[in-house]
Amino acid sequence: MSDQKKGISRRRVLKTGLAGIVATGVAPTIITNAYGFTNEPTGSTVKFGFNVPQTGPYAAEGLDELRAQQLAVEHLNGIGDGGMLSTFSSKALKGNGVLGKQVDYVTGDTQTKSDAARAAARSMIEKDGVVMINGGSSSGVAVAVQGLCQEAGIIFMAGLTHSNDTTGKDRKANGFRHFFNAYMSGAALAPVLKTAYGTDRRAYHLTADYTWGWTQQASIQLFTEQIGWETVNNVLTPVGAGDFSSYIAPVLNSGADVLVLNHYGGDMINSLTQAVQFGLRDKQVNGKQFEIVVPLYSELMADGAGANIKGVYGSMNWNWQLSDAGTQAFVKSFGEKYGQPPSNSAQTCYAQVMLYADAVERAGSFNPCAVAEALEGFEFDGLGNGPTLYRAADHQCFKDVLVVKGKENPSNQYDTLEVVEITPRAQVEYAPNHEMFGGDEATLGACNPGA
């Protein structure tokens, strides 16, 4: 009996199969390859992907990143007051979209997990046809998504990722980071800690057990030992542990007089609160007042930790209380839209979206290799961080770093941190082949346009 007699011809099978391929989204991949690069926009819109943690221990940061990304899209499309478009030193963007195309976006939830983040990013690339992914909050996620973007041939504009590895041993030609890193935190913090707490200190580290925690701990240890501190112990703790009391209790009898919390987001809020509950900040050890240091701060963490944060030192990429024109324009836009000042994770995402769009305009193309070329070695100002360089060798931004302290007497609910020092860029710079960044073996590789 032939297929013809059953009413199913080979031609029909082929037609149905082809329709199925188109309908299930395999088609974009095939069509893509007919052009020069992945997801080349052909209509009147271009789509960005915002991949942030909307659930999990870093969700509060992720949701703030998303607010900033949505605001950036509005400003690119000419909606609202334009934010930092007016203060940005590059004048390529006009508020009429990017290369004449209106910007659209899709969002994904990384769940602060690398596999979930990659799945969300893959869906954005293959189904939604995004040309760029911006996001992060968790360096583990950023490194994983950056690798995926490199393979797929689209640009990854990292959001909140602070591990040295993101632009160190795991750097990629298609990936760019505006946020500062753990090495810079150590370089900026150590001199301030030396002035505040002296050179004869014994530090105990509690460290989030993944790439960010490891590199931050190593960086802080390096710089604090350079000022004479001794490292008593380093204990790795799981991300999202919730109750850190069993890790904090041994600190009491360790002989340490400083606790360094290499934790972030909800984990930092819990570990700091519990450290205070165990009376660490009231203790006298080795004849000195016991101190706590949180090397990486965020306004949202400071808000969550409440009064426990008072007097605790840390570092930041940016703070809404800075007085430059870019910061003021951004805080005004963000504050009027959302009723609260932006966090430094929000600012870095906003800046990254602007920097990508600007690079596309200057390159005259969405081709990721042309965009990468436009970003490499790009010097700019007016985005809130002062004069900044996107270094070509590792795609890391170099700019001033803020050392901050929990404010003793806040004047309002957002006035939680005070900037105690703006560390100049020269003090936090390092060679692209620095051993903490993968040494000579770390390379960007070749740009992948995805064709």
């Binding site: 659930t55 999990g56 509060a60 204990v235 009391s245 609160t273 509950q277 009376g279 009027e336 006035d415």
Partner: protein, 343 residues
């Protein structure tokens, strides 16, 4: 030695939370035969009862202070709590300071209602369905609950402090003959342990010494016979579901100063509490309590640096490792009854 005592103390407060959640879980399983994977979410809802009450007590009206500026440079709007203006600043400050213990009174009726509505509205339709389906539906319900909480309260942990008199810590070491500063322990964790002991004692006393409890225990042993005596056992089991929900709820309320509540805290406790129930023995109330404290203390010990240096990562797997060993040697758990889940 002082480090060991400190970890035992640490394990007691963690174990208290496990025991209270596991007690409710096993109570529901013993009465209704339902494996309730939404029980961790009830613990979380209890914690958010404390957050809600704190927010209600700090509900404020705005007063413009022209001498200060907000973050946009506008005159600062100062928030003055209504309770301050109604009862005076002293009483207002006292109510806000004691919002967590007061929240127990607030949480009990709310959690009872949530429990009864949950049982009547959803769970009862799954009595005769396989356990796998019960787990799926209750797990789904837990996800719905936590997403609703995230919608209203956001994703960040919310600080909910203990009353001022219980903040800080005390030198437990001095009380038992150690030198000063050897064993420092927060006041509130000790309060939580004592609270857990009282609640567990109250639940056992209720089941042991009241007519209602006697009927429930009879129903747990032989539901059909109790029904044939003309007793509406279903109604009593529904009330027990409500009581189990209230126990989880008040456990969550009192835990808020220890762990700042967030929307997914229930999930963190649920899995461990389920293991506690299995280790204690399905349907055994004393088993759940014993296993709760035992696993809490073991988990604390496994976090000691000396232990972790010998077996890296042991703190992450200790509970499951102990569960495997106990189930291999005592398949019904520590105090499990014959015939439960063995059909």
């Amino acid at each position: 030695m002082d480090a060991i005592i400190l970890q035992v103390l640490n394990g007691l407060d963690k174990g208290s939370a496990y025991a209270l959640i596991a007690l409710g879980l096993t109570l529901i399983f013993g009465t209704l035969g339902v494996v309730n994977f939404a029980h961790g979410a009830l613990f979380m809802l209890g914690a958010f009862c404390a957050v809600t009450l704190q927010r209600l007590l700090t509900l404020s009206f705005e007063q413009i202070d022209p001498t200060q500026k907000d973050f946009l440079g506008n005159p600062l709007k100062v928030q003055v709590p209504y309770v301050d203006s109604w009862f005076g600043p002293d009483v207002g400050a006292f109510l806000i300071d004691w919002s967590v213990p007061i929240a127990i009174l607030f949480a009990i009726p709310i959690m009872l209602i949530i429990g009864v509505v949950m049982e009547r509205g959803l769970i009862k339709h799954f009595y005769r369905r396989p356990h796998a389906e019960q787990i799926l539906v209750t797990f789904g319900l837990a996800i719905v609950m936590q997403e609703i909480v995230r919608l209203f309260f956001g994703a960040n942990p919310i600080q909910t402090g203990a009353p001022g008199v219980f903040t800080g810590s005390f030198d437990f070491g001095v009380l038992i003959g150690f030198g000063p500063n050897a064993i420092i322990y927060p006041y509130w964790r000790m309060v939580y342990f004592l609270f857990a002991v009282v609640v567990i004692g109250a639940v056992f006393a209720f089941l042991q010494f009241t007519t209602f409890g006697m009927v429930v225990r009879a129903g747990m042993a032989d539901r059909e016979t109790v029904g044939l005596l003309g007793i509406n056992i279903d109604r009593r089991f529904t009330i027990m579901f409500g009581i189990a929900a209230a126990v989880a709820g008040i456990a969550g309320v009192m835990y808020t100063p220890i762990l700042a509540p967030n929307y997914h805290m229930g999930m963190d406790f649920l899995v461990l509490s389920f293991v506690v129930v299995v280790v204690g023995g399905m349907g055994s109330l004393p088993g759940a309590v014993l296993a709760g404290f035992l696993l809490g203390i073991l988990q604390s010990f496994a976090s000691m640096n000396e232990v972790k240096s010998m077996i890296p990562g042991i703190d992450q797997v200790i509970i499951y490792l102990v569960a495997i060993i106990i189930l291999l040697t005592r398949p019904r758990g520590l105090m499990g009854r014959k015939g439960v889940m063995e059909e």
